[in-house]
Symmetry: C2
Subunit: 345 residues, 2 copies
């Protein structure tokens, strides 16, 4: 097709002028809108330019020039402890090495869909840091299609390096602790998969770890002991309340992450139950409030994850020496024994 030959070379002002049937001078004036051009002529030129998808040489060069030392950080929230901490660490790492950060705060599924459909990152950034984003298949494809250096925390994106913990192992170590204390009716409090967290990989892995730990101890997971609530402290409280009014009373609870556990502790106190005498509680994170409420938890180093991801991205960009891992960098976790767990009474 003749259009193809044309599209190989750049579309120039002369092309637009020819198509509109005017001189280059008039075309230039119409496009720039500076001096007087008749309304009809201008529109003919504008139409021609649109048809040929004309961009000025300057625009082309500007776009080609691209960003100078800027990366995109995409993150679903910054107000939850894990997300704020990992974002803060990654952003500081970038800043200290002279990189600017464009923050994309993509809190729900609609916003994410819209973002990944448009992918407005093309010429704005040198690379992308995805911080614990719940990504659908389509989102991942869209991310990979722009073919830009990419590193993620939490979720894994095929072909890109990532950092995280072994989610299933962390969950297992929390539940094993309860099993060692001789608990048998161990409940799971999860965050409800919703608009925000649809199919969030770490969540699934932690639930799997819970089931595996029980299975290894010869305990059949009881679906009546698995509840979920909206994410956050209030959600943890709601889930705990559901357990307390349920058909089977557990002696211990494993919450998917600390904020759910904090909510559970709240609900237990309101119900007049003592922790750990009447109920043990354990989770994952080591949130800032965990020592305050004396919560036993599996600690992860979130700052370290943010820094490692930022470093890996700078390595991909050639701004820092070293080669990032091909696949996943797994950081250790460790169980911190505090006052919310004890043998069942």
């Amino acid at each position: 097709m003749s259009h193809d030959a044309q599209s190989l070379t750049r579309v120039t002002l002369a092309d637009v002028a020819a198509r509109a049937g005017v001189s280059e001078a008039t075309a230039s004036r119409s496009l720039r809108g500076v001096s007087k051009v008749s309304q009809v002529t201008r529109e003919r030129v504008l139409d021609a330019a649109r048809d040929l998808s004309y961009v000025t040489a300057l625009q082309a060069l500007t776009e080609q020039a691209g960003p100078r030392r800027t990366v995109a950080v995409i993150v679903p929230f910054i107000t939850r402890w894990f997300f704020g901490t990992v974002t803060s660490a990654a952003v500081d790492y970038m800043r200290d090495r002279g990189y600017d950060v464009l923050l994309y705060h993509l809190g729900n599924a609609d916003i994410r869909d819209h973002f990944f459909q448009r992918m407005p990152l093309a010429r704005k950034v040198d690379g992308i840091l995805s911080l614990s984003m719940p990504l659908t298949e389509e989102h991942t494809l869209s991310l990979r299609s722009i073919d830009m250096p990419l590193v993620s925390v939490g979720s894994t994106i095929p072909g890109s390096p990532s950092v995280g913990i072994d989610e299933a192992a962390a969950a297992k170590s929390a539940v094993s602790h309860l099993l060692h204390l001789r608990h048998e009716r161990i409940a799971l409090i999860a965050g409800t998969p919703d608009d925000f967290w649809f199919d969030f990989a770490p969540s699934n892995a932690r639930q799997l770890g819970y089931e595996q730990a029980l299975g290894a101890a010869g305990i059949e997971p009881d679906p009546r002991l698995v509840v979920s609530g909206p994410h956050g402290i209030q959600g943890g409280a709601a889930a705990m309340a559901e357990l307390l009014s349920g058909p089977v009373m557990p002696t211990a609870v494993f919450a998917e992450y600390d904020e759910l556990a904090l909510g559970a502790l709240w609900a237990l106190r309101r119900a007049g139950l003592r922790v750990p005498q009447d109920m043990s509680v354990v989770s994952i994170d080591d949130h800032e409030m965990a020592p305050v409420l004396d919560l036993t938890t599996v600690a992860q180093n979130v700052e370290r994850q943010g820094q490692a991801a930022a470093q890996m991205l700078l390595q991909l960009l050639g701004a820092e020496v070293g080669t990032p891992p091909q696949e996943r960098m797994v950081l250790p976790t460790n169980l911190i024994l505090r006052g919310t767990t004890a043998p069942p009474s």
Copy 2:
């Protein structure tokens, strides 16, 4: 001076070539570094270009073009509740209106000094949102000198609109509540002015409100009842511990903000004191954890402050209809009575 006449017109490639004593072609090749030029010639050209501070036409136009719908958000932390919440709200507001956000996370005095000395915002953003930044005189001057639309939350920058609460009044309402309950020995827990919070205006205003409320009730502020700890939950705990081992035992405590109060509650529990029977606690914020720990507090709407500031900035940029206030927009606060306050026993 002859240099002046020269600096009025743009410096062109021909100027650089002339100064280096080579042809335009050679000058072009040296600057672009594409084809072969002798080492000495290239350096002569590079020197000439530097002397004349030559920028290519493209660079000039690119810089002139400036940012497209991008604002800078500067904030000291995002991991503390107030800051994360206000940042999140402002960033979402901007995103929903098609604006990108460059996040500058400036956590300590050195980093801030460095940032404001360089002020790397010139051609990158259309406007600046300063979210509860502790700013020195120099920082403020630097911000104003680049003459860019600017809105702040918390602190006030002369000549720019700002949003916030009446800090002194909020503190007064918290302390008055304790006075109404007939407390007389009311302690103040403040955050220590440090590297991070040197001369932080809201902090000063809250302490003033505390003194004014006591004064209005005819109570002389007792310096032995005023303590401070590092910012955050741990700091609040340390300050409470200091009070408990001090020369005068208070019957109630006003903490400058909720995270300090949460720490104080922690310290009280560890000391075996009951709240509110042995000690009342009140503060300002209505942090997510406040209902969980049943903390009486003066609530402020932080999301609203972030949104209002973002809206005002877009109005200054002409991207949204309406005229921002000349000076400060003051949002209301309200005392939320919960379980940490009661009459002294």
